[in-house]
């Protein structure tokens, strides 16, 4: 009998994942035999030093990049060898993104940016979805800004628009790669607590890369990467616990 990832309550899974850049002696192993399952409805934080493979892991799990070895599932779909067209549709319907910067299409206003995933899918949001979008814009404090274009917004506001867009389609999984890396720490934490509360309130599955122990302390689970491997996998922790582990890691390096 075949076991599906969803039978295990997993929303995404990778097995024996490897990613090498380049060939020969100059090759870099960005990921080395990583196996991991993300649980449905959980907020997972991914931490680790710069260059440890966090972004690479996310890109591969989100179908933006392909692994050198190993397999990748989103829900019950094996996406390892999906052709580009199918991957594109899958990203459109089942995945949300928040990047560190340049999240928004500069020519579109806030509302059009949030509605973009629906547009790309060639449909209008249903009544129910529209209500959810209005609620999102409201809770993220964007309601008075819907007609503004990205360059008229502050960095924090731009990231909130990106969050609204990522949550609007209620995707299976939202990936956020250092979503507050360009913000000052207070604005960053505000934005992150919005993301975390969206996750806990609606059961949205989120995977987020962050360097901030306070941000990570909102997460249900924290993964640490070093040199392309998972070196620690813990449940919810306090900022102090996270910081002390980070310091210990640095000391060991």
């Amino acid at each position: 009998m075949q076991i599906h990832p969803s039978d295990l309550g997993l929303i995404a899974r990778v097995t024996n994942l490897g990613k090498r850049y380049g060939t020969g002696p100059g090759a870099v192993a960005a990921l080395d035999d990583v196996s991991l399952g993300l649980r449905r409805g959980e907020f997972t934080a991914i931490m680790g030093p710069s260059g440890s493979g966090k972004s690479t892991l996310m890109h591969i799990m989100a179908g933006l990049d392909s692994p050198t070895s190993g397999r990748v599932w989103l829900g019950d779909t094996d996406i390892t060898d999906l052709p580009d067209g199918e991957l594109t549709v899958l990203r459109r319907r089942r995945i949300g993104f928040v990047f560190q910067s340049f999240n928004l299409v500069p020519t579109l206003d806030v509302r059009a940016n949030v509605l973009l995933p629906f547009e790309l899918d060639g449909r209008r949001p249903s009544k129910d979805e529209q209500a959810w979008i209005d609620e999102l814009l409201d809770t993220l404090g964007l309601a008075p800004r819907v007609k503004h274009r990205p360059h008229e917004l502050s960095g924090g506001q731009q990231q909130r628009v990106a969050i609204a867009r990522a949550l609007a389609t209620r995707p299976d999984l939202v990936f956020a790669d250092e979503p507050t890396g360009n913000l000052d720490s207070r604005t960053g934490r505000e934005v992150l607590s919005l993301l975390a509360s969206a996750s806990s309130r609606t059961g949205q599955s989120i995977a987020m890369v962050t360097h901030d122990p306070v941000a990570a302390s909102h997460a249900d689970r924290i993964l640490f990467l070093a040199d392309g491997r998972i070196v620690r996998d813990t449940a919810r922790s306090t900022p102090e616990e996270i910081s002390s582990y980070m310091l210990a890691m640095e000391a060991a390096a």
Partner: protein, 464 residues
Amino acid sequence: MTRLKDLLPTLLVATLAAAFGVALLQITGILTAVITSENGLAESGTVQLMLGLVAGVFITIAVYVSAVVTGNTVATVVAGRTRLIALLRLIGSSAGAQRAAIAREGLLVGLAGAVLGALVGSAAAWGIAEIGMAQGSIPRVTYSLVDPLLLVPMVAVALTTWLAAWTGSRRVLAVRPAQALGNATEADFDEVSSRRGRAVAAWILGVLGAGLLVLGVVVGLVRPEGVLIGLLGGILSFTAIVLAAHRVMPPVLRVVGRLFGDRPAARLAAENAVRHPERSSRMTIGLVIGVTLVTTFAVTMETYRHMLLIATDDQPELQDALGPVIDGTVAVFSTLIGFSAVIAAVGLVNTLSISVMQRTRELGLLRALGFDRRQIRVMVLVEAAALTVAATLTGLVLGIAYGWVGAQSILGSVGSGPGIVAPVIPWPIVAIVVGAAALLTLAASVAPMRRAARVSPVVALAVD
């Protein structure tokens, strides 16, 4: 600080303009040699003068169009490099020094283009002459391809490229060092630059030009010299349109954009064309100039031919004799003006391609969010189509209007006394212009489409 790739478009435009000018002068020289050998020196003097004048007019037009195109190309490159310029400003480079560097590159590229163009143009003229002589369509004569006069278009191209790079780079001065830090976008950047003086100049020239156009038509009812007043009015009012392109083109682009439907790729493309008025007017204005020139000339000539045919209705032999002469004249002159339109088209291809490259991250973002490759291609194609359709339409409308003023002011007083001359539209030329625009759309989008579709979604996530 400039990469060679950024200079190639300007080099191509300068080379084309110089090649055109040199080829035209070489052919004039060869024709003069032919006429001298047949009819003696006395007659060849006037012919040479006439041919020289005609060549001078077309070379001036080509050099003017290439200067506009180069200015816009440089401005596009500068707009895309706001951040780099801001960064250099931040670490202490002065805006003036950066601008001077761009202008210096312009001069070098202009010189290189002039030399390359002279070689290409001379080779083309030599080829045409040899083929003509081999086929016997022109008698074999000895001619020289070395003439100091050739330096005129070469120097003109080098100097105007220099000047165009200088004016095109004036926005460097508007870059604030702080833009290196923020999320500077081009819109932000464009809105910084002051447009006050330009608007005032455009209004003054526009009103003055329109007044002179009307005066030209009125005077033309009595005397054909009215056309000279009209010509001045045309130059002034058209300069006003060029100056106010960022106001004139976006409404046209908005209307044209609606034609492409409501699908996301088409809508985004239309938005792209409209939302950056500076960018889109930079891309289109060269082509507007080219199409307007071609159409103006064609409408004037066609109306003239029509009048002539009516006037000689009772003399069929005269009509038979005149017909081919007029057709030939129209064909030769349209080709000569058409070359300026080609230079403008090269400009549009270049700026579209640069602007797509500058949007790599945006394209990556769209790919990440779920645009497939085909949609990305459609988006680039629709954007190119919106730009060419808008430019062509504007050029046709302006050209028909100017062409009518031209015909009316020349012909209003002749024939059966003062009267209104209906413009005659040369449909074959309109068809050629529209067909060329369609080809241009495809040509302009092939490379950017391929490049855009290759953009990996990962670039949107990358932090630079």
